[in-house]
């Protein structure tokens, strides 16, 4: 079965001012709950502290990203997502919440390269401030990637993640690849 399970753009890669690659399937769980009252349950299931606004906190084999005052996105192994949903549901028993596996609804890209070029490339496709002060590693910015919705965060100064909906994975990839085309260096960041 596993070889039949496919991410949006298996193996897609582009090289230019930075490298872009589709990261394959990744587990993602949307959790909607009053975050102010769910810290313990989250910690119990994920091992992560409740992230502050826009932050991503690390847990055991997973990351927890703040999406809004009543929404988290939990990133984990693809295979673990269903169990994660079940565990969250159990841990939040009796509390109004919604946990749902959305792993297959998205596509995830690794964009890596020299820090300046990396931030410049991203700054061609989003109105969000891509400077290091405005978006340091560990913070997620949900925004617009030209004509589609998406989110960006930095793992380090030389590696970023871009996430979008699965149906527009090709668009997002092409957009990134075009922005990273040699000859298009900007030298701003």
């Amino acid at each position: 079965m596993s070889d039949l399970v496919k991410s949006a753009l298996p193996g897609a890669r582009a090289e230019g001012l930075v490298s872009i690659e589709e990261m394959g399937l990744s587990g993602m769980v949307t959790l909607r709950v009053d975050l102010s009252a769910a810290g313990a349950a989250i910690a119990q299931v994920t091992g992560a502290d409740m992230p502050g606004p826009r932050a991503i906190s690390a847990g055991q084999g997973c990351h927890v990203a703040w999406m809004s005052p009543d929404e988290l996105l939990i990133l984990c192994d693809h295979a673990r997502a269903d169990a994660m949903v079940a565990d969250l549901t159990a841990a939040l028993e009796g509390q109004h919440h919604l946990a749902v596996n959305v792993s297959d609804a998205r596509a995830l890209f690794r964009v890596s390269g020299p820090g300046g070029a990396l931030r410049d490339t991203l700054a061609k496709i989003t109105p969000a401030d891509m400077s290091a002060d405005a978006l340091p590693p560990g913070e997620m910015r949900r925004t617009r990637l030209q004509q589609v919705a998406g989110a960006i965060w930095f793992e380090s100064e030389t590696e970023a993640r871009v996430i979008c909906f699965r149906s527009v994975a090709r668009y997002t990839f092409d957009l990134l690849a075009m922005s990273a085309k040699p000859g298009g260096a900007v030298g701003y960041h």
């Binding site: 079965m1 039949l4 399970v5 496919k6 991410s7 399937l25 949307t30 909607r32 709950v33 009543d70 693809h78 109004h96 919440h97 919604l98 749902v100 596996n101 959305v102 792993s103 297959d104 609804a105 998205r106 410049d120 700054a123 061609k124 496709i125 989003t126 109105p127 969000a128 401030d129 891509m130 400077s131 405005a134 030209q146 004509q147 589609v148 909906f165 699965r166 149906s167 527009v168 994975a169 090709r170 668009y171 092409d174 957009l175 075009m178 922005s179 085309k181 040699p182 000859g183 298009g184 900007v186 701003y188």
Partner: protein
């Protein structure tokens, strides 16, 4: 004749030559040349033709303000009309042709217009071409159109090969203009630690100062400029950008800047243009000032140039615009041009100064160099047809009697300077009239304001009215420092460099030369060179009551040409003020609008072309459809397979085959685009009851129910099947186009109205691949794949749902049937979608498995009488119109749209209602046809009694079937009505109609036996 001087030219590299062509002629220039300087150096003084009279025109300016020297640049794919020669950097292989003439630049038939200007005054076209009526369309307009327009249109068979991109930047300060003022402002802001982007539209830093002989701290300005640029380059927080024009200043600190990345190096593999979309806290417009022409008879002839441009050509590019140049001025600055001409070894027969007295240091120097200075004088006429051969002098105070003829081949004119206040004004900054300088400058008390209500633009240097170099640096420094304080980022104390330049006496505001010129002379004084607007035209507008400066602009087209009146507007409004007997500030300016200079459409569209023109949404099965020759149709940004034509099949054949196969055995539909929204929480039932017209809270887990959603305004907005997952949870299916809209609609009501209700939603549309497994063999194929579920009718009846494994896939199965057959809508996580689709095809071979597209789906649902959002509904239809009363709860007190549906027109019994329609002759009623009724209404329109909403050929019934909304339709079963066609009837015949019988909309399996097995 213009020519290259043997020395000089600070911007050119004389050691190298580059070749280019103009009108096919091979010419050469140097790196650093603009097309204009290279043309002048080659003796090419005529560069274009004016718009209306096709007058021969030479270059008048040296920068972005140029109205005359516009060329067609490049050929074929890279052809670009209306390129200003003055801002086009010369590159090897450049080809340019001149515009707006036939047959040639030198001999233009259109020039006959120039002989008739008396018959073509401003707005003449409003007064004539009125009779006979048909002549306008067939004779006059085609003639006007043919002679109008400027550059050659690009060839429609070619596509622009270049790429473009956008770049978003966020900063504290954007500085427009890299003259000494901009550089000084950047120093201040940079030292204060602000993030700065400094943009200069040309390829060089420093602006006018190096040409004007300014000294800074005792050294030539150029040294200071180089040093300062170096300092700025060393600052981490300062970003310098050449060839980048700040195009517009918008609300809330939004700036567009236009970087011409590769216009000067077209062979490079880079984007051609980059559009900077900048958010900034503050803007410093250090955009300098523009020199104004003087209005004297013949001021538009090739060879008449702005004085500052003339010295630019000499100093920057080592080009002589003429051997003998008469300088005509109302100020001291133009004397610099006379001195520069002299210094280049050329002749200045005289300086014609309109002021009664002239005695500043520059004047004295000119006199000392032996230049004849005539005061109180003006130009009565410029002699020459395609160039200047002499000027005739007169008293400025008089009517223009000629005092003296002076032989010359060029004229340098200066009417004073106007600060470039465009960027200040774009967002509402107001101006004040500076009497001494005779120009508008920013009114510091009325700046454009940002989101906090604070002024966010300042002007610096010449742009702020500090024209003289001595004031310019201190002004820039003070403006920048004040602004930094207002931002809470004060700049550290630092010595401001001292600029020095010769002192200048005040100018005399001269708008017309000579002052008492009669109508004949005024009709030869050009204000707007490109659009051929003359002093007499503005006066005519005033006389005819087009008194507002905006009326005058539109009536005469003053300032509407490609230079947007950079040279003409102030002169024009001064002439208007005079004609009205008003003060200039009372007359005011026209509105400044972006862009500062024109920017390419390519840059505005950015990267969005070809594959990434728009996002194209793909389902997990997308590639399969493409591989199987699907004809894809756009549904929103999705692409869906419309049908899968096989070799030799028309679309219609394919649709019919797909339907037959589905009804006869097994069809598969990619239904992944259907919206899927989870609604969960203790109040979910209550919320669902508000969203849907029917009762959803009573739905049992494991069951599905079809539901309708209305807008608060009562109209049907979406429909779909709801599955109850558990006590707390519903799964709502929406239409393909509805998913995002409906999810937003739900969140709107939850967040903004019922925020105390405990309900969460999640849009999981893309998590699932959904496949319609449809037809009598649908159960068999699923069972064949192997499943742990009981799929029998008893265990999983119609409108039930279940979850489990099929063939190793994690699957949800819904017993819903849009086609009216036994069918299972199955969904699996998107990552498994393609594998399942393939497995179904493989297993389905023995059942004649056939993929069907959206059109087959539409026809099959129409055969069943199911409505389709967007066909039966159009935003004006309520569920009651569609006979869907059964899906509207009578028990519920409230649902979205209920109150709206109680309004008188909504309950009107004469609303058209849904019925089926069967043509008498079996034909298909045309799409969109109306049912005709007797007579006409009060406005003479044919009466109607209904319209068709869906109409198809039914391969199942082998005839045309349709649904439609008909007046009292459900009560008129069996009645025959007529539908109109758009076929034009032959003469004398009545328009053709199609007769159809009103029937039940359910054409196929009315008892539902097929789906219920």
């Amino acid at each position: 004749m213009s020519t290259r001087l043997s020395t000089g030219g600070r911007l050119i590299d004389r050691s190298r030559k580059i070749a280019f062509t103009f009108n096919g002629k091979r010419l050469t220039g140097h790196p650093g040349d603009t097309l204009a300087s290279a043309l002048l150096a080659s003796g090419q003084t005529i560069m274009g033709r004016s718009f209306k009279y096709h007058r021969p025109r030479g270059v008048v300016a040296s920068g972005a303000e140029e109205p005359n020297a516009l060329v067609n640049l490049g050929q074929g794919k890279t052809h670009e009309p209306n390129q200003r020669a003055t801002t086009t950097e010369l590159f090897d292989g450049l080809t340019a042709t001149s515009q707006n003439h036939w047959p040639s630049l030198e001999w233009d038939i259109g020039e006959v217009n120039a002989l008739l200007p008396r018959f073509l005054p401003a707005g003449f076209y409003y007064k004539t071409f009125i009779h006979p009526r048909a002549f306008w369309k067939h004779v006059f307009e085609p003639f006007i159109r043919q002679s109008a327009g400027l550059g050659k249109a690009p060839d429609p068979k070619q596509t622009d090969p270049d790429r473009y991109e956008h770049f978003y930047a966020h900063t504290d300060v954007v500085i427009a203009g890299g003259g000494i003022a901009g550089l000084q402002a950047a120093l201040e802001a940079g030292r204060a630690g602000a993030k700065v982007i400094l943009c200069e539209q040309t390829a060089h830093w420093g602006g006018r100062a190096p040409v004007d002989g300014v000294e800074i701290d005792g050294k030539p300005a150029e040294d200071w400029i180089n040093d300062t640029v170096q300092v700025l380059e060393g600052m981490e927080n300062v970003h310098l950008r050449l060839r980048t024009m700040v195009a517009g200043v918008y609300d809330h600190g939004y700036i567009l800047a236009y970087e011409r990345v590769a216009d000067h190096a077209p062979a490079a593999d880079t984007p051609r243009h980059r559009l900077w979309r900048i958010r900034t806290a503050r803007v410093i417009a250090a955009t300098g000032a523009l020199e104004r022409p003087l209005s004297f008879p013949g001021n538009d002839k090739p060879g008449v140039m702005l004085a500052s441009a003339m010295r630019d050509y000499i100093t920057n590019w080592g080009v002589s615009p003429g051997d003998r140049t008469v300088v005509v001025t109302n100020n001291d600055d133009a004397y610099r041009t006379a001195l520069a001409i002299k210094a280049a070894g050329l002749d200045v027969p005289c300086i014609v100064d309109a002021r009664e007295e002239a005695d500043g240091p520059l004047v004295q120097e000119a006199r000392a160099r032996g230049i004849r200075v005539l005061t109180g004088m003006g130009i009565a006429n410029v002699k020459g047809l395609r160039g200047v051969v002499a000027v005739q002098l007169c008293r400025q105070a008089g009517e223009g009697a000629v005092v003296e003829d002076i032989v010359c081949d060029a004229v340098a004119m200066s009417g004073g300077w106007s600060p470039v206040v465009h960027l200040w004004s774009h967002c509402g900054g107001k101006l004040t009239w500076d009497k001494a300088g005779a120009f508008f400058r920013p009114d510091h008390d009325r700046p454009p304001t940002d989101q906090t209500g604070e002024g966010f633009v300042v002007c610096a240097g010449a742009a702020d009215g500090a024209l003289h170099a001595t004031d310019c640096l201190s002004n820039a420094s003070t403006s920048a420092r004040n602004m930094l304080v207002s931002m809470g980022k004060p700049a550290p104390e630092a010595e401001v460099a001292k600029a020095t330049a010769a002192h200048e006496a005040p100018l005399a505001p001269i708008w017309v030369m000579p002052q008492g010129a009669g109508p004949k002379k005024r009709s030869k004084m050009w204000l707007d060179f490109q659009n051929d607007v003359k002093v007499s035209d503005v006066q005519l507008a005033a006389r005819e009551g087009y008194e507002s400066v905006e009326h005058t602009k539109r009536y005469t087209t003053l300032g509407m040409a490609t230079d947007q009146g950079k040279l003409s507007n102030i002169n024009g409004l001064a002439v208007l003020a005079d004609a009205l007997g008003e003060d200039i500030p009372r007359v005011g300016t026209t509105t400044f609008r972006p862009p500062y200079t024109p920017i390419s459409m390519g840059a505005i569209a950015g990267e969005a072309r070809g594959e990434i023109f728009q996002p194209l949404r793909r389902t997990p099965l997308h590639d399969w459809h493409v591989d199987h020759n699907a004809y894809m149709e756009p549904v929103g940004h999705w692409r869906r397979a419309y049908c899968y034509p096989q070799k030799g099949e028309s679309h219609r054949d394919a649709v019919n085959r797909e339907i037959d196969a589905t009804r006869g055995g097994l069809g598969l539909l990619d239904a992944s685009t259907l919206g899927k929204i989870i609604v969960k929480g203790p109040d979910a039932g209550r919320f669902m009851d508000m969203l849907y017209t029917n009762m959803m809270s009573s739905l049992k887990p494991g069951k599905c129910r079809y539901g309708l959603m209305c807008s608060e305004n009562g109209f049907l907005m979406d429909d779909g099947v709801v599955a109850r997952i558990d006590e707390d949870t519903f799964l709502c299916h929406t239409t393909t186009g509805g998913a995002d809209r409906i999810h937003a609609h739900m969140e709107d009501w939850l967040q903004c109205e019922w925020w105390d209700w405990k309900v969460y939603t999640a849009n999981v549309t893309e998590q699932w691949a959904q496949i319609g497994v449809v037809g009598p063999k649908s159960r068999a194929v699923l069972e064949k794949l192997g499943t742990d579920m009981d799929l029998s009718n008893a265990a999983l009846p119609f409108m039930g749902w279940t979850a489990g494994k099929v063939g190793g896939f994690d699957m949800r199965i819904f017993r819903i049937a849009f086609a009216g057959e036994l069918s299972f809508e199955v969904s699996v996580p998107a990552s498994q979608g393609r594998a399942l689709w393939d497995a179904l095809h493989e297993a389905g071979q023995e059942f004649g498995v056939t993929a069907y597209g959206t059109e087959a789906m539409h026809v099959m649902r129409a055969e069943k009488g199911f409505i389709m959002i967007g066909d039966e509904t159009d935003g004006t239809v309520i569920p009651q119109d569609l006979g869907l009363d059964w899906a509207i709860s009578k028990k519920k007190e409230d649902y979205l749209g209920k109150r709206a549906q109680e309004r008188s027109h909504m309950t009107d019994p004469t609303r058209w209602k849904l019925v089926g329609l069967e043509t008498l002759d079996g034909s298909v009623i045309p799409d969109g046809s109306y049912a005709v009724a007797e007579g006409v209404n009060a406005n003479g329109q044919g009466m109607t009694q209904g319209r068709v909403t869906s109409t198809y050929y039914s391969p199942t019934l082998k005839r045309g079937i349709a649904m439609g909304l008909v007046l009292n339709g459900p009560d008129r079963m069996g009645e025959v009505i007529e539908f109109n066609t758009t076929k034009k009837p032959a003469k004398g015949e009545t328009p053709k109609t199609v007769k159809a019988k009103i029937v039940s909309p359910v054409f196929y399996d009315p008892e539902g036996e097929k789906q219920n097995v």
